[in-house]
């Protein structure tokens, strides 16, 4: 039998036919499609038991009560805590916390900079090196050249840092300022006592907001949103006064565009209408028995703030001003809000005071729907730190930022003055800097100046959890745990009643990080002597436990401890009244409102910043999810857009998406143009919170940090940064 080609063909045909009747092709076809269900390179989340842990979010100062959903030991979701508690809520940033916890930009272990490169070191080594350096400084009697920039002044962790500086012998504990500092000032000046305001928006029936970003991140955003929704449910009015149709303005019942920087003038103009028409009589409050300096105030507004003048300055029609003033006073429980945007810049003291006079005229203090004046929770009752001679001598040295003295007598901390102070000295007056819970190099205006100052400081220790801009300038990083990994007391003052929340560890620290509280205690102990003595606690947790005492049990259960006792100690000043004008305020040369920097001729436009819930602009930066929600008219690829009125754009021959060069007295940047009818002609706006150089590839290099373009303007009254924008010019590229 000869085997030829034909036989082979036949064999093949048989094999083919046979295969069709075997499971092989069919099973392979099925299996190959099943293979595509679980490609080896696609992750399959591991399943496990679900558990829920309540904690307090500390990603912003809001301090919301949240619930973390866990599967096994993994955090999978952050949700709002289901509770009637006013403090429970969540915003876009809080929802991002699982992403931030597992973020690739987390610093995974203590780092030390050696020849411009990061070298991993142990916590022990880091603490030892820091202690060694600090010992040396102290030996040279330079303990006052240690400074600390802290994101907050409330709570035990900032208190520990401040205590450390005191025990070490430095007065230079500086916190990052915000509108809250101005709030405190406004009320301590006019009501006589240290108190913080709580605006009862939900119960008001007429809210006038002078540029306050009620729905753009101001205060505790979740609480503000809830309050706004209640306003809507009750069909109450919200009037928004600002040059840009912000999200808040869009939701308002009326948007009154105003020439930026003239908000205070408008408020005084309204006051003039109110006083002129004696509308305050309805309110039955303006008796001499409750106010001081009214006649002087009356004379002032009548003289300088006539309707016509105010209308000219603010760009708002006279009848609108009158109507607004009348409606405000007609309302049952009106309230005037102040502080621009999300309130990250303190702003002009006089502007805030001017607006607050409206609250005074409406007599809404400590009334439902008005402004509650509350005292800050006072629960940290530590014994005074032990000071040795060295410390005692230097602790009374002058503060570097000049706060509390001379023309800065009103302020406690003036971070904004630091760059200038450092840059103007031959050698840095700061030899050693702690940076905790903040990213000043990114968040401070006038980046160039700040950079120069930071570069000049010989040694910087960062306690950041992330490789942010300031951390990357540090010499040693002792990364803090993420808030889901640590205990911490969070003082929340944005709600109706001041509360202290307790952040609890939800998971064990996933990296080799150290709680900043523990870090500072360890450093103190390593320094020995009276400094160590001042820190009698074994670790941060015992410190917290001892500080909170019985409150901790409440907080463990309820998350928050609410200070029921300290409702108000306002009007505790000598007169016991609201003081329109008094000796202290006279010292601040009344009513100079801060204008934008730059020559109008050279820079015909005005650049303002806007805050957005979708872009975190503070110490915590955007999660990838948040950046994903940012519109393509804000960021496209890496280009940032500025908003401009189509009329103004036409003058500069700019179309939608055109590239343009934006120049301000402080810097230049290439931007793209987004035409927006919701912005006043002549004004351009840019979002804050972009243009990061630190963090990860999901954020780095996207857009421009507006702080590079805006300088700071020292408020003549308070010394705080009061810049709200800068003059600018655009050129088509």
């Amino acid at each position: 039998m000869k085997i030829d080609r034909r036989n082979f063909l036949s064999l093949g045909a048989g094999a083919t036919a046979g295969l069709a009747f075997s499971p092989l092709p069919w099973k392979l076809m099925d299996d190959s499609s099943i293979w595509t269900q679980n490609w080896p390179w696609a992750p399959v989340p591991t399943d496990g038991e679900a558990s829920y842990v309540d904690t307090v979010c500390s990603l912003c100062s809001g301090g919301c009560g949240i619930t973390i959903r866990k599967i096994g030991d993994r955090v999978v979701k952050a949700e709002k805590k289901d509770s009637d508690n006013a403090n429970s809520g969540i915003c876009i940033l809080g929802l991002s916390s699982p992403q931030l916890l597992y973020s690739p930009s987390r610093i995974k272990t203590p780092l030390k900079k050696v020849e411009d490169k990061w070298v991993k070191i142990s916590v022990k080594q880091a603490v030892a090196e820091i202690a060694e350096k600090l010992k040396g400084l102290r030996k040279d009697k330079l303990s006052h050249t240690l400074a600390c920039i802290s994101g907050s002044s409330a709570g035990t962790v900032p208190a520990l840092f401040e205590r450390f500086l005191t025990a070490y012998g430095s007065p230079n504990f500086i916190t990052v300022p915000s509108v809250k500092d101005i709030y405190k000032l406004v009320f301590s000046l006019t009501c006589g006592a240290s108190c913080i305001p709580a605006f009862d928006i939900a119960n008001s029936d007429f809210v006038v907001s002078f540029g306050t970003g009620l729905l753009d991140g101001w205060g505790n955003p979740a609480a503000a949103f809830k309050a706004h929704s209640i306003l809507k449910d009750n069909k109450k009015q919200l009037i928004q006064i600002e040059p840009r149709l912000s999200n808040t303005a869009a939701k308002a019942d009326k948007w009154l565009p105003i020439i930026p920087g003239t908000e205070g003038v408008l408020a005084l103009g309204m006051a003039n209408v109110i006083i002129g028409k004696q509308l305050y009589f309805n309110k039955n409050v303006l008796f001499d028995s409750v106010t001081e300096g009214f006649e002087e105030f009356k004379a002032l507004v009548e003289k300088d703030y006539s309707l016509e003048a105010v209308s000219n300055i603010t760009g708002i029609k006279q009848e609108d001003i009158t109507a607004l003033a009348e409606d405000f006073m007609k309302a049952q429980s009106p309230v005037a809000l102040f502080g621009r945007g999300e309130g990250s810049t303190p702003g002009s003291l006089h502007e805030m005071m001017a607006v607050n006079f409206l609250n005074a005229l409406a007599g809404n203090f400590n009334k439902t729907g008005g402004v509650y004046l509350l005292s800050e929770p006072d629960y940290i009752n530590w014994t005074h730190p032990v000071l040795d001679d060295a410390a005692y001598y230097n602790i009374n040295a002058k503060r570097l930022d000049g706060a509390g003295e001379g023309k800065y007598f009103l302020a406690k901390h003036l971070l904004n003055r630091l760059p200038e102070v450092v840059n103007s000295s031959k050698t840095s007056p700061i030899n050693f800097l702690f940076v905790t819970d903040s990213n000043p190099f990114y968040t401070m205006a006038d980046t160039k100046l700040v950079e120069e100052a930071f570069k000049k400081i010989p040694f910087i220790v960062s306690f950041s959890s992330y490789m942010d801009e300031t951390a990357s300038m540090a010499d040693i990083i002792l990364p803090n745990h993420f808030f889901l990994e640590r205990y911490q007391d969070i003082v929340t003052t944005c709600g109706l009643k001041p509360a202290v929340g307790l952040s609890k560890p939800v998971v064990n620290p996933i990296f080799n990080t150290i709680h900043s509280g523990d870090a500072i205690i360890s450093i103190a102990k390593a320094l020995g002597g009276t400094i160590a003595e001042s820190f009698p606690w074994d670790n941060y947790e015992t410190c917290l436990q001892e500080t909170l005492e019985a409150k901790k049990d409440v907080m463990d259960k309820e998350l928050f401890w609410i200070d029921e006792s300290g409702v108000s100690n306002a009007f505790a000043d000598s007169s016991g009244k609201f003081e329109f004008i008094n000796d202290k305020t006279r010292q601040t040369k009344p009513y100079i409102f801060v204008d934008a920097q730059g020559e109008k001729k050279k820079y015909p436009l005005t650049l303002i910043r806007f805050d957005s819930m979708r872009i975190a602009s503070g110490y915590t930066a955007n999660s990838p999810f948040m950046t994903k929600t940012v519109a393509d008219t804000v960021i496209k690829e890496n280009d940032i857009f500025i908003e401009i009125n189509p009329k103004t754009a036409a003058e500069y021959n700019l179309a939608e998406r055109s590239k343009a060069l934006l120049t301000t007295p402080k810097g230049k940047a290439q931007v793209r143009v987004h035409l927006y009818e919701g912005i006043m002609p002549g004004i351009i706006s840019m979002p804050s919170g972009l243009g990061h150089t630190g963090y990860d590839s999901y954020l780095t290099g996207k857009g421009i940090n507006i702080n590079e373009l805006i300088g700071q303007i020292e408020d003549p009254a308070s010394g705080f940064d009061a810049a709200w924008g800068i003059r600018a010019v655009l050129a088509r590229v």
Partner: protein, 258 residues
């Protein structure tokens, strides 16, 4: 659903109050976090950016200072169409998406979908998204993935599921406790639960006790593109006439639906 028991058909839906929506984007992130939605370094190409819940910014087209904007969150509308013939469901050649007559939820089964994208062509709301690439979670970030939602592979379509897995989990709990029914608050979508402004209300449109039943009857309530006959289950509420008009197409002389 055992035989014989009187089974009342549910119709889950939403009422979104556009007067309250602040455009903050919390719903979008809550959704992405809940549903293992992938993300990449550049998400500014919005036509290649998976957002089951997308917040649109509507403009009234007027000049300064009469300009007005409104934010409109757009999940999947879970169209009922004509008796379950949603625009996307009837076109799918492989039954990778179906209309559940017991819940009114339009499903999307990633492992059945072979990526023809006909459903995307059919959906006028652009609620359906295609996985143009393999999803990648940077090292460590895969840890926050939710096991109740399966991550998608490249080449398939995905969309909002009204967080159906949350319904499944609520049912599981009810069964374990010897119950058949679940309460309104036991099943809430991630977006509705997260909305800080309480603008999103979710529930059974057929159930008189649920808030959505009452809210959808408000005269200022409308649905998107009703005139196409998609019969969506997401209702919107706005006190502004121009917003209501923007919800559908009208000829110039036509008045918008009251």
């Amino acid at each position: 659903m055992s035989k014989g028991s009187k089974h009342k058909v549910k119709k889950f839906g939403m009422v979104i109050d556009l007067d309250k929506c602040t455009g903050c984007g919390a719903c979008m992130v809550a959704c992405m976090s809940e549903n293992n939605v992938p993300f990449k370094e550049n998400e500014s190409k919005k036509l290649d950016s998976i957002t089951w819940m997308r917040v649109y910014k509507l403009e009234n087209g007027k000049s300064f200072p009469e300009a007005d904007i409104c934010f409109l969150p757009r999940p999947c509308m879970h169209c009922e169409g004509d008796r379950g013939h949603a625009p996307c469901v009837s076109v799918c050649p492989a039954i990778a998406t179906d209309y559940d007559h017991n819940t009114g939820i339009v499903s999307q089964i990633y492992t059945r979908c072979f990526g023809c994208r006909y459903c995307m062509a059919a959906c006028p709301y652009h609620a359906r998204y295609f996985n143009w690439r393999d999803p990648v979670w940077p090292e460590g970030m895969e840890k926050f993935l939710n096991p109740n939602v399966s991550p998608r592979m490249r080449g398939v379509v995905e969309k909002c599921s009204f967080c159906h897995h949350r319904y499944q989990l609520a049912l599981d709990k009810a069964y374990a406790e010897g119950r058949d029914k679940i309460e309104e608050d036991e099943y809430q979508t991630a977006c509705a639960h997260a909305c800080p402004a309480n603008a999103i209300t979710f529930g059974d449109l057929n159930n008189k006790k649920h808030s959505v039943y009452r809210l959808k009857k408000n005269p200022n309530t409308f649905r998107l593109l009703e005139r196409l006959g998609t019969n969506p289950k997401v209702y919107y509420h706005s006190s502004r006439e121009w917003v209501r008009r923007a919800g559908d197409n009208y000829l110039k002389h036509e008045a918008a639906k009251a």
